[in-house]
């Protein structure tokens, strides 16, 4: 294994390889930052370019792209409230409020640093678990998926804050949105009202583009001014504050990276769920925060960003263990390997260890490289938040709508983006949380699917959920996460009461 790692480093050590990596990383950043495009599109578009390359060169280029997209996506999530790719959606919850407070630099600094560290931890974890990777992938079966999804859905209660009723209403609507379209268990199409566009369900990316980006532009148009409500000049030092905040909140970053790696290792869940679970866990772990979550807590940026980057390493675990892609990008990446005459699966690690480690090194270096680029450019990027709405609104709206269209070259997706834009705007206007709505959309379908599959496996015996170790553990964790904030609040109240009595 060590020899293969050295070979991987040598492969990347040539000027040509570094150029390829930098090019891949730059494309990844750009495709990540532009809403709707994303890593899968970038990797797919670059496929023809790799035809004339050696396999390891193609791997370096692709590795560069894959490690950089979510870092790029974090920038637009923070600055424009527009998740570049779906896994960045959770970053908007606290990233954008920070930008509004004139702390965009800090948020970008934290997001980029968390991305790099998350990416590196994900890759290190991948290498560390290679001997036991099969066991890890096999740990999770439908009952565990269900419990994991329930755990994530419970965050709705916590994320709603004092707007529990509104939170529950939006969550129910979110669940209903998630149920539209083709359902894999029965192969039937539901709630499509005969509209072909809805047959495949409401696609997450156009919906998020509408819900976050365009709705925010409508909101800005009503208010006027600029994104940042802070009138003082942008302080560059805040970027370094963001970098430092990650090290200060290292446990948040580590938990996020753990989520990313682990969720990445489970095929079919993906970076979006990883980022949301990481965010909701952070909210639940911290019931009495200095700054409320959703109002610009830096930990709300670190948690999802470390998770969605760590996922890149994690999603290679099932790829190497069983040849199963752990994410959409990995699926396209496997396609690239096949095009180059390499059969993925058992044989990949047995016969092409050098290529596997070339990818490992490329992912690590690209994660760091992308972060450095973002940190260097951050001071210019934050100027976006100072631009007048007259320039910003048309530009962002056009880019967002093109992004919604470009994903599947489907005009209907633009309509979806518009509909969600108005839903999002009314939610802002009437103070209904978008966080709970989004959590429900993201987790709703996996909750339903895993419940249904669990019932099929167990012949409708609910005992399947409480007779399996991990499932029980997750259930206990759910109960704890619901009880913990109340318990801590009570303790705090009791302490305060004692202090007051003492006075």
């Amino acid at each position: 294994m060590f020899e293969a790692l050295i070979e991987g480093i040598i492969n990347l050590g040539t000027p040509h390889s570094l150029m390829l990596l930098a090019a891949g990383s730059a494309v990844g950043l750009l495709f990540g930052a532009i809403p709707g495009l994303g890593g899968t599109t970038a990797v797919a578009l670059l496929i023809p370019l790799t035809f004339g390359m050696e396999p390891w060169q193609a791997i370096i280029l692709m590795g560069g792209v894959m490690a950089a997209t979510s870092t790029g996506g974090s920038v637009s999530a923070i600055l424009l409230n527009t998740p570049g790719i779906a896994p960045n959606a959770a970053t908007t919850f606290d990233g954008y409020p920070l930008a509004q407070q004139g702390k965009a630099g800090m948020a970008i600094g934290a997001g980029a640093t968390a991305s790099a560290l998350g990416g590196v931890i994900g890759v290190i974890s991948l290498v560390a678990v290679i001997p036991i990777m099969k066991a890890i992938v096999l740990l999770f079966t439908p009952p565990e998926f269900f419990m994991l999804a329930i755990f994530g859905l419970c965050a709705i209660a916590v994320s709603s804050g004092d707007r529990l009723l509104q939170g529950l209403i939006t969550a129910i609507i979110g669940l209903m949105v998630g149920f539209v379209g083709y359902y894999d268990v029965t192969s039937t199409v539901r709630y499509d009202f005969g509209i072909p566009l809805l047959e495949d369900g409401i696609k997450l990316v156009p919906a998020l583009i509408g819900l976050f980006a365009i709705s925010e532009m409508i909101n800005l148009a009503m208010k006027g001014g600029s994104i940042s409500q802070e009138t003082a000049d942008v302080k560059i030092s805040r970027i370094s504050d963001g970098v430092k905040s990650v090290f200060k909140n290292w446990s948040t970053m580590l938990v996020g990276s753990g989520y990313g790696t682990f969720i990445g290792a489970v095929p079919g869940v993906g970076g979006t769920v990883a980022a949301f679970l990481s965010y909701s866990t952070q909210v639940q772990r911290d019931p009495a925060p200095d700054v409320e979550y959703g109002e610009g807590n830096i930990k709300g940026v670190i948690a999802p960003e470390s998770a969605n980057n760590a996922k890149d390493g994690g999603s290679l675990i099932p790829t190497l263990a069983f040849g199963i892609p752990g994410s959409a990008e990995t699926a396209v990446f496997l396609g690239v390997l096949v095009l180059h005459g390499i059969e993925p699966g058992q044989k990949l690690l047995e016969d092409h260890q050098d290529l596997v480690f070339t990818l490992v090194v490329a992912l690590t270096v690209s994660a760091v490289f992308a972060t450095l680029v973002v940190l260097i450019l951050a001071k210019y990027m934050v100027l976006l938040t100072k631009i007048s709405v007259h320039m910003l609104i048309p530009t962002v709206t056009v880019v967002a709508l093109v992004g919604a269209f470009a994903l599947n070259t489907e005009i209907g997706d633009v309509v979806i983006a518009f509909i969600f834009a108005f839903i999002g705007y009314f939610m802002i206007r009437f103070n209904y949380p978008r966080v709970t709505f989004t959590i429900a959309i993201v987790l709703g379908s996996i909750t339903e699917l895993s419940f249904h599959q669990s019932m099929l496996i167990s012949d409708d015996q609910l005992s399947i959920f409480y007779t399996r170790g991990i499932s029980v553990f997750l259930f206990a964790l759910t109960i704890l996460s619901l009880a913990f904030p109340t318990f801590r609040r009570k303790m705090k109240e009791r302490k305060l009461a004692k202090e007051e009595a003492g006075k």
């Binding site: 096999l138 079966t141 029965t186 069983f322 199963i324 959409a328 396209v332 005459g341 699966g345 058992q346």
Partner: protein, 333 residues
């Protein structure tokens, strides 16, 4: 007489006009779009992208072949799109047969009819093998499955998908009434379901199964995760297991998948012939053949005539099971 002459003149004139129409004169045009009915990264995506440059080579090298993913409606969207294009050879699609034919067979609204598509030739085919978990499998061999008194559980994609349909026909023929655990998005996901014990066994394309075989171990020791218990073939088993042919089920050997390229119905014969000839040459190009063998996806070329005949045979074969397929397609819980 005058009428006959007029008819002949008109016919010759029409033929001349067709022959000299711009659509044919400058064919192949600057761009041919090679549609992919599924998202990037899958088997159809890979083989289409790999084939593109070879097709370009045999179309004279000047035309650009653009691979375009048009996923949706489980493959239907791309077929509908192709059916609605101008019949000028500007768009081609690799169909997933019999999957693409199912809506037509069971009389569902599809927006295309595979019987009317202009077929250009077959690129590849796959056949199935039945696999079980090597470590957690309840059944060691197919005889144990057939004798089992408890219900066999099969993780699979949803009703109506190619794998589900092949399963339904196979187990119906073997007299087994399994329970399907549906909802897995792809064959690699349900294969994982079998490995971790969600169900007892499943059906996998041989090419997909091969990725679970270790190259370092020989024969049976190579089956660490999944092991084969039955192969659907009339020939000798590649993996040393019983075959459906040996069980007297010769008809089942048709079960599998064929990747057949077609273009918009009504495409002028000259264009169709040019495309079909180039496609056949591309599929039989030694370099493309070698690639297919290397990645476990051997090519199975068929010319336009034989491919058209095959589509007809597949249609007739699956139409026999129309009721079974319609029932499985509507099955809900």
């Amino acid at each position: 007489m005058i009428g006959k002459i007029t008819t002949s003149v008109l016919a010759v004139g029409a033929a001349a006009m067709l022959a000299s129409s711009p659509a044919m004169a400058d064919y192949p045009r600057k761009k041919i779009t090679f549609l992919i009915a599924y998202g990037p990264g899958g088997g159809f995506d890979t083989i289409t992208r790999k084939l593109g440059p070879y097709l370009k080579k045999y179309l004279g090298g000047k035309v650009t072949i653009v691979a375009k993913n048009l996923p949706g409606g489980r493959g239907k969207k791309a077929a509908q799109f192709l059916a609605k294009r101008k019949a000028n050879g500007s768009h081609i699609l690799m169909f997933n047969m019999p999957g693409h034919a199912m809506p037509n067979i069971i009389g569902e609204k599809a927006g295309y009819d595979v019987r009317k598509i202009d077929w250009l030739g077959r690129v590849a085919q796959f056949r199935y093998v039945i696999v079980t978990s090597a470590s957690k499998g309840k059944y060691k061999n197919i005889q144990e499955v057939l004798k089992s008194k408890s219900q066999i559980k099969i993780p699979i994609t949803g009703p109506g998908t190619t794998g589900y349909l092949a399963s339904a026909i196979l187990w119906n023929a073997l007299g087994v009434q399994p329970k399907y655990i549906t909802g897995y998005k792809s064959s690699s996901r349900y294969a994982l379901g079998v490995i971790r014990g969600d169900g007892d066994l499943t059906i996998l394309a041989k090419g997909s199964f091969k990725k679970y075989i270790s190259s370092k171990k020989k024969k049976r020791a190579a089956f660490k995760d999944l092991k084969p218990i039955l192969e659907i073939t009339n020939g000798k088993s590649e993996f040393g297991v019983p075959t459906t042919g040996e069980m007297g089920q010769k008809d089942l050997s048709i079960l599998g998948g064929d990747r057949i390229v077609g273009t918009t119905p009504g495409t002028p014969k000259a264009i169709k012939d040019q495309l079909a000839t180039a496609l056949y040459k591309a599929v039989t190009d030694p370099e493309f053949v070698a690639w297919g063998n290397k990645v476990g996806r051997p090519v199975a070329p068929l010319n336009a005539k034989d491919a058209t005949k095959l589509v007809g045979e597949l249609f007739s074969y699956y139409t026999q099971y129309k009721d079974l397929l319609a029932a499985s397609n509507k099955k809900t819980r």
